[in-house]
Amino acid sequence: MLSTVRIKLCEGVILLVSAAVLVTGCSGPGQPTQPAQPAQPDRPGNASLTVATQGYHDYVVSEVDQLARATTQFTDAVRAGDMDKAKQMFPLARLHYESIEPVAESFGDLDSSIDARIDDVDNPADWTGFHRIEKAMWQDKTLAGMSPTADKLDVDVVSLKSKVAGETYQPAQLANGAGELLNEVSTKKVTGEEDRYSHTDLWDFAANVDGARKCFELLKPALATKNPDLVQRLDARFADVADKLSKYRQGDGYVDYSTVAQDQRRGLADAVNALAEPLSKVAGSVV
């Protein structure tokens, strides 16, 4: 699991303070002769950033709302033993989780309850969440005994919904969250390890990229005044990823990832890495 967004925020505040010490005093590390200057909460350009962070809050709430609705349809099917419906709903529900995954990960154990892979748990008997049911559907080929897991998933998603309702965000969290989403893609989705039983990895891939794109679009007005070249580059590279991904669309979703050959996966990985590098510079331009 990735480190939480909350920790990143704390580091950001400390960094502002330490930079202030170093530019004003030169007495050496660790021995400031002047008191640290507090970070200024009201800085130029903050109006568009406030719009961005509020917009992100609304986006997360909306995504988790859709997650909750789709998850209920999924878990109802699981409890009813309706394998076809459950399989159909599995990627549709998950994509609303994958789009806001870094936020969900900031709530401690909730992420592992909802989204752990079998490698993430100490005791397979304690394994819960989407991937537990994924294994039941595609590998064990039975939903027998999955009702308690479905119930627990409902409870966890409701818990997530209540947590995000009151959550607020800082601009750096949007930028870093976008980067984390792409790191997810380049390390876990491209390899096919995320959805190893269902091979619906490309749905998650697309949702991760959509979540990152949302962060970027929200920050774009602030970024455009400070670093227009970066905006231009990111626009082009988001478009490139979307273009490459579109080749694997099938119906309302994506092809089975096991049909995507190694060199095609490499092409997707190269596009994501090409996007992730400039994206890592966004936080420095908006904070």
Partner: protein, 422 residues
């Protein structure tokens, strides 16, 4: 702050050693560029002593006749960008970064702001420049239709033909651009390639890479001849950096190229040569020496007593056999037997673990040679690949050819400028 304590360096140009001193004690807090550059300056700090720095600027690129450093990091890249401007942008950025790293300076552009990833990946902080050289080469595929460079492809630069003795793995062949980083410290060499790969992301992707852990050639007139993994001295008769007549004749491209951007450049051939070291180790000493044509320990030709004694290729033993056997490596490779053809060798030993199919060591020589015409290598390898007694113990599994342009004269230039602008 005391202005007198500040050294006249740009905030982006931080010596790795000074950086180390500057950040000590800061822990995770980070630092601003201004604070770092002024606070951390110590009069005794230098980026590196003169012996540790190889000049980057010059008429020829460094890393060709430079005294061979101990370690190699080599990478071949493919260009994924479609616009020539994007490619040129990366090469300009690479040139500046390579020049800085050669002096032991961190990759330019670091803001030292806590909210952004550092511009330099950092693993060379505190290390000396280690005589780092970074050399670029352009592959034949760069001169296809993508970037409008086809008219500038030199006539001799068509790629290597199929050669005897090779079983090539496509994943270890070719590439649009090569970066050869050599240094006396493996981490300094690796750092250079890693950072260029990072700076190029989105424009280029790495196609293959190769680390070399020990030099197998000498180019300096005073440099001791090292041994290859077969335990033999390699490169005794290599072209030396002070032999300017031979360099002009065999290594540096002159006016004859018809392509100004290659004048002062050279063609780089890279061959990954797998050695079957287990079977070699079971071969008896006298046969090992017959295969090379040299004595194993002294390095002397089988007709001499000391390493640098000239081989006598007509001498015969008491029973009438050639003293240096007909199919021995040094006889077949000798310029005397090849119409005077010579190449400058600059290879490194490598090992990449165990060959899963056979359980044997995947090790050998990452052969690098520089020549004024790729045909020099082709002629030699045609002959060696067919007749060399060494072939029983080696196989060429990777291959690439690159055109290394002339050097960069000063900070106003960049690698290949005459190719892209001339």
């Amino acid at each position: 702050m005391d202005p007198a304590a500040a050294r006249p360096i740009a905030s982006g140009a931080v010596s790795r050693r000074r950086m180390l001193g500057g950040v000590a004690g800061l822990g995770i807090l980070g630092a601003s560029g201004a604070g770092l550059a002024s606070c951390a300056a110590h009069p005794t700090d230098t980026a590196g002593t003169a012996e540790q720095v190889v000049a980057f600027y010059g008429g020829n690129q460094a890393g060709i006749t430079t005294d061979v450093q101990d370690r190699l990091a080599f990478a071949a890249f493919d260009v994924t960008a479609t616009r020539r401007e994007d490619l040129v942008d990366v090469i300009k950025t690479w040139t500046a970064a390579a020049e800085a790293m050669s002096r032991g300076i961190m990759v330019p552009g670091d803001s030292h702001a806590g909210e952004v990833p550092p511009a330099d990946t950092g693993e060379a902080v505190g290390l000396s420049p280690a005589r780092l050289t970074v050399t670029i080469g352009f592959g034949p595929t760069l001169f296809d239709g993508r970037f409008g460079l086809a008219p500038r492809r030199p006539a001799v630069f068509t790629g290597l033909p199929t050669l005897p003795g090779e079983t090539l793995d496509p994943a270890r062949c070719g590439g649009d651009i090569a970066i050869q980083a050599c240094a006396d410290d493996p981490q300094v060499a690796f750092h250079a390639v890693r950072n260029l790969a990072r700076l190029g992301r989105g424009t280029v992707v790495a196609r293959w890479t190769q680390l070399g852990f020990g030099r197998t050639s000498a180019t300096g007139s005073g440099q001791q001849t090292p041994r290859n993994l077969m335990g033999f001295k390699d490169g005794t008769r290599n072209i030396r950096s002070d032999d300017s007549a031979t360099l002009a004749k065999s290594v540096w491209v002159g006016a004859e190229a018809g392509q100004e951007w290659m004048r002062g450049g050279s063609y780089l051939v890279a061959r990954r040569i797998r050695m079957f070291v287990e079977t070699w180790d079971r071969d008896v000493l006298s046969d090992q020496e017959a295969v090379f044509g040299r004595a194993k320990y002294s390095g002397a030709p089988l007709t001499g007593k000391a390493e640098f004694d000239p081989p006598n290729f007509v001498a015969r033993t008491a029973d009438g056999e050639l003293a240096i056997p007909q199919n021995s490596h040094i006889r077949l490779a000798a310029f005397e037997a090849n119409d005077g053809v010579r190449i400058l060798r600059r290879g490194y030993s490598f090992t990449d673990g165990i060959d899963a199919r056979t359980g044997t060591l995947d090790a050998g020589l990452f052969f690098i040679s520089f020549q004024k015409d790729p045909g020099q290598f082709v002629a030699l390898q045609r002959k060696l690949g067919q007749h060399d007694a060494l072939n029983e113990y080696v196989r060429h599994v990777g291959s690439a050819l690159f055109a290394c342009p002339q050097g960069v004269a000063d900070a106003s230039g960049y690698w290949g400028r005459a190719l892209f602008e001339g």
